[in-house]
């Protein structure tokens, strides 16, 4: 079927089977490999993307569900002005090791900070508890999100 949606600010029109998984559409059809897959069953949070601003699992979504939606992947976070404060904080605070959870983690953090611009560390842990990481023990990720929240309050973005 023909599907129209906005991906990282660009209008996209494509033809895809309605039951094509969004993760496959992004990675295989559009070559956007910034979105990763790890369990394919909605258990790990790795494949998180933002759909109309809300964190969703692209391994559990079908192409037809994208119709008319606004989709943001990790690649869409970097603007002409440079990195998003969450991306910057992930680098600065050492929140990245293997980096495979990073795309989903950053997008979930963005969703969290939108709803709660001033989260406690406990609230950050809760907000990211659907995103598994096997390298970091999460502490530096929490540090990074906390720091990014601080910075975003001063310079609201997105």
């Amino acid at each position: 079927m023909k599907i129209n949606f906005v991906l990282n600010g660009k209008e996209i029109e494509l033809v895809a089977p309605p039951d094509r998984r969004v993760i496959d559409l992004l990675r295989e059809d559009l070559g956007m490999t910034g979105t990763k897959e790890s369990c394919g069953a909605g258990e790990c949070g790795i494949c998180t993307v933002l759909i109309d601003g809300a964190a969703k699992l692209s391994c559990l979504m079908f192409a037809a569900q994208l119709e008319g939606r606004n989709v943001i992947t990790l690649e869409g976070l970097t603007s002409e002005e440079g990195l998003h404060p969450i991306q910057e904080a992930f680098i600065q605070f050492g929140a990245v090791q293997c980096g495979f959870c990073t795309p989903g983690m950053i997008l979930s953090a963005l969703d969290l900070l939108k709803h709660n611009p001033n989260p406690s560390r406990k609230e950050i842990r809760e907000g990211l508890s659907g995103n598994l990481c096997r390298c970091t023990g999460y502490q530096k990720i929490i540090d990074a999100v906390e720091a990014a929240a601080c910075k975003m309050k001063k310079e609201p973005l997105l």
């Binding site: 496959d24 990675r27 295989e28 070559g31 956007m32 490999t33 910034g34 979105t35 990763k36 897959e37 790890s38 369990c39 394919g40 069953a41 258990e43 790990c44 790795i46 992947t73 990790l74 690649e75 976070l77 970097t78 990195l83 991306q87 992930f90 680098i91 600065q92 050492g94 990245v96 090791q97 293997c98 980096g99 495979f100 959870c101 990073t102 795309p103 950053i106 950050i124 842990r125 809760e126 990211l128 508890s129 659907g130 995103n131 598994l132 990481c133 096997r134 390298c135 970091t136 023990g137 999460y138 502490q139 530096k140 990720i141 929490i142």
Partner: protein, 770 residues
């Protein structure tokens, strides 16, 4: 602009982080290709049996199927493995665990591939399986490999020092226990993946998620009967590995697929269930311990028998057992020891390398024994450890003199002065209703490198490019731990360059030089030492040639600054790009070979044990402290705070070091509390992330990591390995804290709410503790 040269000992944000936070970094799983073919594997499904026939005709006839291959299509040895090549690429005569690969399908897309795999039927004659390592040693047990002269024994080890039989009679206190630890799954988030294709020159190229591209190349060559010179393997950053990609995963299967489809790229990417089923796990072990001391707590005798279940294949299992055997007595002075270990074939999932490599198992046992002994003697857990802790010049339990930096006592002293230790009694006494609080300690010790026989060497290469940048050719894979970034930091420091003037080539058998696997806490130690040599050679050459060009013979007056060389007396600067033009191509490159020192002592004459790594020479040390709260109503154990004090030598980048400690603690905490990969009669009943539970952000406490910063003279800038040691401590520290909280000790881990509650109830019913 002021360009700051990279420094050692300061926080340097990881240079791989930018590509990873922007989604630009390409992992092996991210490689596709024009006109792509998907490859997938039909697996045995039963733990033990004879293959009568493999029915592939229906699958082969399915539209969209390109090829269906079996063992008959493998031209080479059809065998893989690091020490013992006992694993078939595609099983032909029999299957030895549920995950054995039996057929390989090449298809136009993933949908067709899955349908074809379902159409393959296996006619198998089921054999009785063997699922317990001790039972596997009994007379008449089913044999996993009929051709193994040692029956089901892969490797047996025996280390003796002094005389334990006499020594136990001289002890004032003796404690005895048996511990069981389960399979632990790595759960790297990037499951096994790769792309294979043939280049016009007839070369087979593989892009794979691996820890050891050069070893992979030889394995693929031998298994498939190809000249290794015709194979190129490149290793992008791994999306995690932790030991699970140290050894062949998709490599041989992908190579085979490519041979039968040479005109198109072939991709293989195991899904989570397949990864769980086919990949190696941390060896489950049963550990019988007996420990005796004098009345003041001075350790006098230790007897250990341990059984490691390696599943059906070696997959480094022998080396895992050997490292466990070597570390069985922990970081203590014990004059009399008898240590025995068996690594045993079963029909369970494969046991293999996993961060810690045998040491988490024995540390789990030994550190609980220390607390049991302390309790029996009425000593504090800290004091009994201080009394027996190894210091420099002591001999360790297997008789190796500690000649490297040995700062365990400093670690214990640091812990003793830490507020978390000092305040622990107050914290314990302020728990809420139905909650019990306790604190637990564990000392850790971890050897580095390959041991005395397999050369632990690396060959670093560095080039001044024509553009005036220094290009570091990394020989060791970065599976996520940040060693590549540290290599850039080392080169930047020696050559006095900022990050902009240093660039990286990731491991690639065509471009970099063989430098061993990313494993054994060796990546920064061994390659770092090689790189220091290469960078210094190149620096010397550039400054010498710079002095010639400036026509002032004094090299000492020349320095490197970011992007330039500078003549100090005149302030004259030459851009590095100009220097590069003036140098011959052969002068722009420097290479340095480094081999790690090995122990000259021989705690064992057994050549097989020495081959498998005994003894080690350099060790890191540490002590861990866990604060836990036990819910008496549910049995749930929550770790509230965690402190790790480590002696890993001098720290090059405190942030990267802390990453390793945090990550090790998290995997160790999972190992202690929730991670149990269960195979019942060889059949997996924790096939996914809904049934195999790893810690989430809500399960991890705030962690404190302190480095005592000793200096290891043989290490690059004084460093020792830090990649594994942190995973050794959490299980025993948490076990000891649970015992401290509520007087129950569980000898089988993980300490799930069910097990803890059962132990609490038993204690209540019997009115006794452990």
């Amino acid at each position: 602009m002021n360009k700051k040269a990279l420094e050692i000992g300061k926080i340097v944000p990881r240079m791989d982080a930018y590509g990873k936070v922007t989604g630009q970094e390409k992992y092996a799983a991210d490689y596709y290709g024009e006109n792509l073919v998907w490859a997938g594997v039909k697996r045995a499904g039963i733990p033990h049996g004879r293959i009568k026939s493999i029915h592939i005709d229906e699958a082969r006839a399915l539209p969209g199927v390109i090829s269906v291959l079996t063992h008959k299509d493998v031209q080479g040895s059809n065998r893989q493995g690091v020490f013992r090549k006992d694993q078939p690429v595609l099983a032909g005569d029999k299957v030895r665990h549920c995950g054995d690969a039996v057929a390989l399908v090449l298809a136009e897309d993933k949908g067709v591939l899955n349908r074809a795999l379902n159409l393959i039927t296996l006619d198998l004659e089921a054999f009785p399986g063997i699922f317990d390592p001790e039972k596997a040693l009994e007379e008449g047990a089913p044999l996993v490999h009929e051709d193994n002269p040692q029956g089901n024994i892969l490797l047996k080890g025996d280390l003796e020092k002094g005389d334990v039989n006499i020594a136990f009679n001289e002890c004032d206190a003796i404690v005895e226990a048996c511990f069981e630890v389960p399979h632990q799954e790595h759960v790297y988030l990037e499951t096994e993946a790769g792309l294979a294709f043939f280049k016009e020159d007839g070369k087979l190229e593989l892009v794979v998620s691996t820890q050891a591209p050069f070893r992979d190349r030889s394995e693929v060559a031998e298994a498939l009967g190809i000249d290794p010179e015709r194979i190129r393997i490149t290793a992008p950053y791994c999306g995690g590995a932790f030991g699970g990609k140290d050894g062949v995963t998709v490599q041989t299967l992908l190579g085979l697929a490519a041979l039968y489809c040479p005109d198109r790229p072939v991709k293989m990417w195991w899904n989570r269930e397949e990864s769980f089923m086919a990949s190696p796990k941390r060896h489950p072990a049963r550990l019988y311990y007996r420990l005796g001391s004098k009345s003041d707590g001075t350790l006098h005798a230790l007897d250990v028998r341990s059984y490691y279940d390696t599943g059906p294949y070696d997959h480094l299992g022998g080396a895992v057992m050997a490292l466990g055997l070597e570390h069985s007595g922990g970081p203590y002075r014990i004059p009399n020891v008898s240590l025995k270990a068996w690594c045993v074939y079963t029909n369970n999932p494969i046991g293999g390398a996993f961060r810690g490599f045998g040491v988490p198992q024995v540390t789990a046992a030994m550190e609980q024994m220390m607390d049991l002994l302390a309790a029996k003697l009425g000593l504090s857990p800290l004091n009994i450890r201080l009394r027996n802790a190894l210091t420099k010049g002591n001999t360790n339990p297997i008789g190796i003199t500690q000649l490297g930096s040995t700062a365990l006592v400093e670690c214990l002293g640091t812990l003793k002065e830490h507020l978390l230790w000092k305040n622990s009694q107050d914290w314990k006494s302020s728990s809420g209703p139905f909650k019990k609080r306790g604190v637990g300690l564990a000392c850790v010790m971890h050897g580095m490198g390959y041991g005395p026989v397999v050369p632990d060497s690396a060959i670093a290469k560095i080039e001044l490019t024509k553009e005036g940048k220094f290009r570091v050719f990394s020989g060791v894979v970065d599976m996520g731990q940040g060693n590549a970034s540290t290599y850039l930091q080392i080169a930047g420091y020696i050559l006095n360059q900022d990050a902009e003037h240093i660039e990286l080539v990731l491991p690639d058998t065509e471009r970099v030089l063989p430098s061993g696997s990313a494993s054994a806490s060796r990546t920064t130690y061994t390659f770092g030492n090689a790189l220091i040599g290469a960078a210094q050679t190149l620096k010397h050459r550039i400054l010498q040639r710079g002095a010639d060009i400036i026509m002032n013979g004094e090299m000492e007056a020349m320095v490197l600054i970011p992007g330039h060389i500078k003549h100090l007396p005149t302030d004259k600067e030459i851009p590095l790009s100009d220097m590069a033009q003036k140098l011959d191509d052969s002068e722009r490159v420097a290479i340095h070979h480094f081999t790690a020192s090995v122990s000259k002592e021989t705690p064992t004459e057994d050549p097989n044990l020495r081959l498998h790594g005994i003894p080690h020479f350099i060790f890191s040390y540490g002590v861990h402290l866990a604060y836990v709260e036990v819910d008496e109503l549910t049995g749930e154990v929550e770790v509230k705070r965690y402190l790790a004090v480590s002696d890993c030598g001098r720290i090059m980048n405190p942030q990267v070091f802390e990453q390793q400690i945090h990550g090790g603690i998290a995997q160790g905490l999972g190992y202690a509390l929730c991670e149990e990969f269960i195979a019942k009669e060889g059949r997996i009943i924790t096939p996914d992330l809904a049934t195999y539970i790893i810690p989430t952000a809500l399960d991890m406490p705030d962690m404190d990591s302190i480095s005592v910063e000793s200096y290891e003279p043989t290490g690059p800038f004084g460093l020792k390995g830090a990649g594994e040691i942190a995973i050794d401590g959490p299980l025993p520290a948490i076990a000891n804290a649970i015992a401290d909280a509520c007087g129950v000790r569980l000898f089988r881990s993980p300490f799930t709410p069910e097990r803890v509650l059962k132990a609490l109830n038993e204690k209540r019913n019997r009115g006794v503790g452990y």
